[in-house]
């Protein structure tokens, strides 16, 4: 994977970040801190996937920064031997933005949870996405607040019984992919904690993307929301429910690809149909680079937040748009440099008082 380039808008996500001088292994990214999640927590799987993926980027460890908010998942940076910051609840994207704008030589990652990113931190998330700051955001979605011991979150399905909703929640949840696309995201993907290969693929695509990349990771919380994703993870269900998205390919799934996603001419969106009925030509072809996010959005609606009827995973959108931080730097670079501090302080309307002048009050 290349780490050189022009650092210009629309380039590679790692342009400007210096390459490593030696090959690395997953263990190079393990910090000396003991990992403190509950046994069986999905966070372990994601950590392992990231640790074995990072060497692939070929960067120097010191040029990688992970910034997190607050939540179980937000402990992530402690376990990675890179630079890191465990900030405050919901605001990691703001710190990451300030860092990315001033340091084009760093690869900046944000780790956040469904509460951190979508409840208290919703505003910063949507603004990072619209600005398209060169950040990679990993959103651990366990559909629950883990760290505060199990309240429902903005991604919990209606009716979720938790300590704060003894009679079941009544809120309609966000679909993080739809929300991101509505917020002008240039890169949105979804992955499962339990599928290392697919998660790694998505991480790779995110790292390559220049701009904000949002990766929603379905993450199991065995303690407070066990099995939240079983409906799509359970091996048999999986084939029938998971729609793998592959750029440039028709969107088909099922044991033999017997289902396809086709246009829903009544509703105006997309629907699932047996390919035998619709014919292969009716199946839409996935185009991550499309300028118009409409089809990616329509795909995101196949999962209505309740896994039903099917859940697309993979990269929904990976479109090109100049990254905010590149534009800021380009503007700064283009604004000359002729002036001296002396001139600046002097301004345009100065006058001089000569030593010899004297007046009396």
């Amino acid at each position: 994977m290349t780490t050189t380039g022009l650092g210009m808008p629309g380039g590679h996500g790692l342009d400007g970040v210096p390459p490593a001088d030696r090959p690395q292994a997953a263990k190079d990214y393990r910090s000396d801190q003991e990992v403190r999640w509950c046994p069986g927590c999905g966070d372990y799987a994601v950590l392992a996937a990231v640790q074995s993926f990072l060497p692939e980027l070929g960067l120097r460890r010191e040029n990688i920064v992970f910034i997190s908010g607050i939540g179980c998942s937000s402990r992530f940076p402690y376990y990675l031997d890179t630079y890191g910051m465990h900030s405050v609840h919901g605001r990691a994207p703001t710190l990451a933005t300030g860092l990315a704008v001033t340091r084009p030589d760093l690869s900046v990652w944000v780790v956040t949870g469904d509460g951190d990113a979508l409840s208290i931190g919703g505003n910063h998330l949507v603004h990072a996405l619209r600005r398209n700051v060169n950040l990679k955001i990993l959103l651990f979605n366990n559909r629950i607040y883990g760290l505060t011991k199990g309240q429902y979150s903005p991604t919990s399905p209606p009716g979720t019984v938790t300590r704060s909703t003894p009679l079941g929640s009544v809120d309609h949840p966000f679909n993080p992919v739809s929300l991101a696309l509505g917020a002008e995201a240039t890169f949105v993907a979804r992955a499962l904690d339990s599928d290392r290969a697919q998660l790694t693929e998505v991480l790779r695509a995110a790292a390559e993307h220049r701009g904000t990349a949002l990766v929603e990771i379905y993450q199991n919380c065995p303690v407070f929301n066990d099995g939240a994703f079983d409906a799509v993870k359970e091996p048999r269900a999986r084939v029938q429910r998971i729609v793998p998205l592959r750029d440039g390919e028709p969107v088909r799934f099922g044991t033999q690809g017997e289902y396809g996603v086709v246009r829903d001419l009544r509703g105006g969106g997309l629907r699932v149909a047996p390919v035998a009925e619709t014919g292969a030509d009716a199946v839409i072809v996935h185009d991550t680079a499309a300028d118009d996010p409409a089809q990616a959005f329509a795909l995101s609606r196949l999962d209505r937040g309740d896994h039903g009827p099917v859940v697309p995973v993979g990269v929904f959108r990976a479109a090109r748009r100049p990254a905010y931080d590149d534009l800021v730097r380009r503007q700064a670079a283009g604004s000359g440099g002729g002036g001296t501090l002396r001139d600046l302080l002097r301004g345009r309307d100065s006058w001089t008082v000569q030593p010899h002048r004297r007046n009396t009050p």
Partner: protein, 626 residues
């Protein structure tokens, strides 16, 4: 039209206070600005005070819609924009109404007579015309039909009636410029530059300006002109500067002197926005500005940049500071350098957004959860904002701590001549980033919380530095290694270390001004009250009442000698634009019985008013509390 008169020699004055007042759309801020600039260029010392409504443009002709700009210029070094105007230019009845009460007897009132129509009088809630009844009995009133004279001067310019009339502020300015012998080239150049892309407007404004001067010269009514000689200012090159501009330049200079990029993360808010506006223009000096989605994002970006080795700055006003509280706490915990500027305005809540106040001091001190101490400093005058910005950056960088700088609305928009420093004379703010592992056990590990023995600052190890990879955050840290620690004894130690670090910052001693050394009453202030307090002390001394003055730049930590200073006086009086916030802090810190004199009107103290309030304290029996 009256016939030309033979010019009489101008009357010499030491000082004069002129106030332009008109509708929000009448261009009063511009007129005042130009009068200041021309006076500055002439060599007077000066101070200004703009005052405008919170609405962008309130209904025309009403009292709430009045905008004003006061200029005080003198042939000696002055301290305030002046208490009460010697000359009021009132562009309409509402402007007269809003300002009439401020004028001392004998003051001159110049009104735009064209605007004193029935309709406008009603809008300003005048039952009868103040030009006809006794309202202005004690003033010298000049009725000048400025609108029609301006229109007349511009007849044939091709401008519409409305556009032509717009230039009447320049007519008014011209008249005043003539009366007070102001130079005119500056304003004419300015106007041509400002309207460079609409030359017809430039010419119209210049014409109106000249028409105003000519009107003065050719009218008997203004027979007397005045002369205010240049002030004896220390030699040097000067410019006129507002507090917000000075802050922005100070921050830019700080970045240059530290050799660091500056990142300002800010969300617009009155009266702080101009700091963002000004800094947005200095990209070539390594200053990046990020207009954030909100105040948290502003400080968050600044702190993120600080983690990366930049000078992080965020600017706001009181309500915004409230929103930054949580991340300020994170900055305290992560011990990263950060400059946080609060340009205080009238509170609480949205309060009086365009007025001034000093009521965020306690918020600055205490507005965070837990024991979260940080240094607090305050500039005393518009020009001093420059030095204060450098001082804030110095402390932040050297001590690895967020620093709160408390400006206020009066400083932000007020202006004064400022002696421009030579960049090389500015403090050297260079910092050393950590580059090597530092674990005392020689293990080759990096301890991000191993402190400098003298300053107690922790190392600043920025991403990109090999071998120093580490994690910081808001959870309590182990003293030294910096890993998360829930240990009780460690927490106690860290709480006290953070406090000791701030308490131990070296700040200059407080200096007391007591010209004849006879004072037993000390007047102590902070921030923008410097001018009024200083002027009040001059007046008191002139009345034969000895008084000592000291003014605090450093509010946390206090100067080392402050306790001794306070105890040296029979009585300490603290004038503040709040309900006595500093007074309470001094009582808590030193157990001395300070007297608070507070004013919370959204307006600065007047020198006379303050002198009157202080006099009884000084006159009180010696040896007894006043």
């Amino acid at each position: 039209m009256t016939s030309p008169t033979v010019p009489r020699p101008p009357v010499r004055l030491e000082r004069v206070v002129i106030r332009f007042a008109g509708d929000s759309g009448d261009g009063m801020q511009l007129a005042g600005d130009r009068l200041s600039a021309d006076s500055a260029a002439f060599g007077n010392d000066l101070a200004t005070r703009p005052d405008f409504p919170a609405e962008i443009r309130a209904p025309q002709g009403t009292v709430p819609g009045v905008s004003s700009f006061q200029v005080h210029f003198a042939d000696y070094d002055i301290l305030t924009p002046g208490d009460r105007p010697d000359v009021l230019v009132a562009m309409n009845p509402a402007a007269l109404k809003a300002n009439a009460a401020d004028m001392p007897p004998g003051a001159t009132v110049i009104v735009n007579a064209d605007e004193f129509t029935r309709r406008n009088l009603q809008r300003a809630d005048y039952a009868t015309s103040p030009l006809q009844d006794a309202t202005l009995g004690r003033h010298v009133v000049h009725q000048v039909p400025m609108s029609s004279l301006t229109r007349g001067a511009l007849a044939g310019s091709g401008l519409s009636r409305k556009d032509a009339e717009r230039a009447k502020n320049m007519f008014a300015l011209g008249l005043i410029a003539w009366m007070y012998g102001r130079p005119t080239a500056g304003t004419e150049t300015f106007l041509r530059r400002k309207f460079a892309d609409r030359p017809e407007l430039a010419e119209a404004n210049v014409t109106a300006f000249r028409a105003g001067r000519n009107y003065g010269e050719t009218t008997e009514a203004f027979a007397t002109t005045y002369e205010i000689a240049p002030a004896e200012l220390p030699p040097g090159t000067y410019r006129q500067i507002t507090g917000n501009t000075a802050l922005a330049l100070g921050l830019t200079a700080a970045g240059q002197r530290a050799g660091l990029p500056v990142l300002l993360g800010s969300y617009p808010i009155t009266p702080a926005s101009d700091i963002l506006h000004e800094l947005a223009r200095h990209k070539e000096f390594g200053v990046l500005t990020l207009q954030a989605e909100d105040e948290m994002a502003g400080i968050g970006a600044a702190l993120g940049a600080a983690f990366g080795g930049a000078l992080g700055v965020t600017s706001t006003s009181g309500p915004g500071l409230a929103l930054k509280s949580e991340i300020l706490g994170l900055a305290v915990m992560t011990e990263l350098p950060l400059v946080v500027i609060d340009v205080q305005r009238g509170g609480p809540s949205t309060g009086l957004p365009t007025k001034t106040e000093q009521s965020d001091l306690l918020q600055a001190m205490h507005g965070r959860n837990g024991e979260a101490p940080l240094p607090v400093i305050a500039p005393r005058s518009p020009g001093d904002c420059f030095d204060a910005a450098l001082e804030a950056a110095r402390i932040a960088l050297a001590h690895r701590t967020p620093v709160l700088l408390l400006s206020d609305g009066a400083l932000a928009n007020g202006s004064e001549p400022w002696r421009i420093p030579e960049p090389d004379d500015l403090p050297d703010l260079r910092v050393e980033f950590a580059t090597e592992p530092n674990a005392p056990d020689g293990s080759g590990a990096f301890w991000p919380y191993l402190r400098d023995r003298r300053t107690l600052a922790r190392p600043w190890a920025i991403p990109g530095t090999p071998g120093l990879e580490h994690r910081v955050g808001g959870l309590e840290k182990a003293d030294g290694p910096g890993a998360i620690s829930y240990d009780s004894a460690n927490h106690e130690r860290m709480v006290r270390l953070r406090q000791a670090k701030v308490d131990g910052i070296e700040v200059p001693d407080a200096e007391v001004e007591d010209p004849d050394g006879r004072a037993d009453v000390l007047v102590l202030g902070w921030g923008s009250t410097y001018g009024p307090i200083g002027a009040a002390c001059r007046r008191l001394r002139a009345r034969g009442l000895p008084v000592a003055q000291t003014h605090l730049r450093h509010l946390r930590p206090f100067p080392g000698n402050l306790g001794a200073v306070l105890r040296a006086y029979r009585q300490v009086v603290v004038p503040e634009m709040n309900l006595g916030q500093l007074a309470g802090l001094l009582r808590a810190a030193y157990g001395v019985d300070v007297v608070s004199r507070s004013k919370v009107t959204g307006q600065p103290f007047g020198a006379e008013e303050l002198a009157d309030a202080l006099a009884p304290v000084i006159e009180g029996e010696k040896g007894e509390p006043a």
